[in-house]
């Protein structure tokens, strides 16, 4: 597969990532001695500030910085995890679904640590302005320390996941977090540029449509053959006459169809006609024309994927 470099992580994400790394390291080194506690508190405060900024950036930032770009449903995370275990994870330009779980876990744990740390710092233990009972202050301190002890374990999994993904994707993801660039398969690049990539096989084309559907709607799961079949068979009448895909392709697209002008239409299902869906431009041309004809508008990548998924299931 052809590859090329794509800018994925913006400068804010990268600066956040590496300054957070250094700050956490600093916080660990200053956590034990009484004398370094003021430094520890300042580092914790900066971490809290960074977390707040990153959360805002997660809603208003660039594409791959947004939570909506990478936070996936548990079902999708499980599906990705299964593929990951098999060593064949699908490509994701930003965070993959498992990486996204780690991002949320780390942000959440760090929020807990920094907030409880602030309470302890401002509370009675160091005679700060925040009044807390001795028991309450102790409990908060327990949470702070317990969470801080869990952090290294999460970080081990974080680094382990990045290294494993680097191996599976055959690219240096750590360097990507420095430079901001990742290598993208042409499929994803095509999505980014809005250009049509050339798929050579029907399953590859299906993947392209799925990737585009995912890019358009983060809630999109996967192409659905049953949905595709419904769309294929449903009669609609955008021009007055009731028509469906089956009007020309017949209800069994493994067989020959016929155009209104009487010309034979070769089978549409790839199982019956290996030439179908081997050229992105051709497939799009026919989808565009025929969707306008039958649906009255262009089909979405999701709908194209559904229909192709139905045809591939035959």
């Amino acid at each position: 597969m052809q590859q090329s470099k794509v800018k994925v992580w913006d400068i804010a994400v990268r600066v956040f990532h590496w300054s957070l790394t250094l700050l956490i390291l600093g916080a660990f080194l200053t956590s034990e001695e009484d004398g370094t506690v003021p430094t520890h508190a300042v580092l914790g405060l900066v971490i809290f500030g960074l977390l707040a900024l990153r959360t805002l950036w997660g809603f208003f930032g660039t594409r791959h910085a947004r939570f909506s770009d990478f936070v996936k449903s548990p079902r999708e995370v499980l599906a990705y995890a299964r593929a990951f275990v098999k060593g064949r994870p699908p490509a994701h330009l930003g965070h993959n679904p498992l990486g996204a779980v780690m991002v949320i876990a780390l942000l959440g744990l760090l929020a807990v640590i920094s907030v409880t740390g602030a309470v302890v710092w401002l509370g009675p233990e160091w005679e700060g302005p925040l009044w807390l009972s001795k028991d309450a202050a102790h409990a908060v301190k327990e949470v702070h320390e317990g969470a801080a002890e869990a952090l290294p374990w999460l970080l081990v999994f974080h680094v382990g996941g990045v290294l494993l993904s680097s191996l599976l994707e055959r690219q240096n993801l750590v360097r990507g977090m420095f430079t901001g660039f990742k290598r993208a398969p042409v499929v994803l690049l095509g999505v980014m540029l809005g250009a049509a990539a050339q798929a050579a096989t029907p399953p590859a084309l299906l993947e392209e449509y799925a990737a585009e559907a995912r890019a358009q709607s983060p809630t999109f799961q996967r192409p659905d053959a049953a949905r595709g079949k419904r769309l294929f068979l449903t009669e609609q009448a955008p021009r007055g006459e009731r028509v469906s895909c089956a009007s020309c392709h017949t209800a069994d697209p493994r067989g020959m169809g016929r155009t209104p002008a009487g010309k034979i239409v070769e089978p549409l299902a790839p199982a019956a006609n290996p030439r179908r869906f081997t050229d992105r431009k051709q497939a799009d041309k026919w989808f565009d024309r025929n969707c306008k004809q039958v649906v009255g508008r262009l089909c979405t990548p999701e709908e194209k994927g559904d229909v192709l998924s139905f045809l591939l299931s035959l």
Partner: protein, 169 residues
């Protein structure tokens, strides 16, 4: 590109047929001259219907058809601009006025300056088919008046000779 590879063969065959025409000059029924071929035309227009020999319509008709491909007899048959321009040029050069088709002259005379769009209902062609019951065109094997090739096996090459027409059941 397979169609392009075929082009030299088509040209060779066309040349051979042209030679035959010269030899057959004295016969009453000359073999029809071969209709010009264009792989793009056959691929784009021929996907949905017979790639009708361009000599069946005047240039003004082709131009009007190509300008309204988004509603092509009720069908969406849109093409990208480069393809449309190439077809426009080729159809103009090979339209009925170019006389590539023996029938072209009769068709032009029968339409009397109008701009017909539907080949299957050209007055000249209707009169040529008037002895056929309407039922013939409704048979599943024919299914449409536009499906010339159902009865004229070499319609694509512009051969509509009655001797060679076979009406399917």
């Amino acid at each position: 590109m397979r169609p392009l590879l075929l082009l030299p063969l088509v040209l060779l065959a066309a040349g051979a047929r042209a030679d035959d025409d010269e030899h057959d000059g004295e016969h009453h029924r000359r073999a029809p001259s071969r209709s010009p071929q264009l792989p793009l035309y056959e691929a784009e227009c021929g996907a949905c219907h017979l790639a009708f020999p361009p000599g069946l319509l005047p240039a003004r008709s082709w131009q009007k058809l190509l300008a309204n491909l988004d509603d092509h007899f009720g069908q969406n048959a849109e093409l990208d601009l480069p393809a449309r321009q190439q077809l426009e040029r080729w159809l103009r050069e090979n339209a009925a006025e170019a006389g590539t088709q023996r029938k072209s002259e009769k068709i032009l005379r029968s339409i009397r300056g109008t701009t017909p769009l539907r080949i299957s209902t050209l007055p000249y062609l209707l009169s040529k088919h008037d002895e056929l019951p309407a039922e013939v065109f409704k048979r599943p094997s024919v299914s449409s008046r536009a499906n010339c090739a159902a009865c004229h096996p070499d319609a694509l090459q512009g051969d509509f000779e009655e001797d060679r027409a076979r009406i399917p059941r």
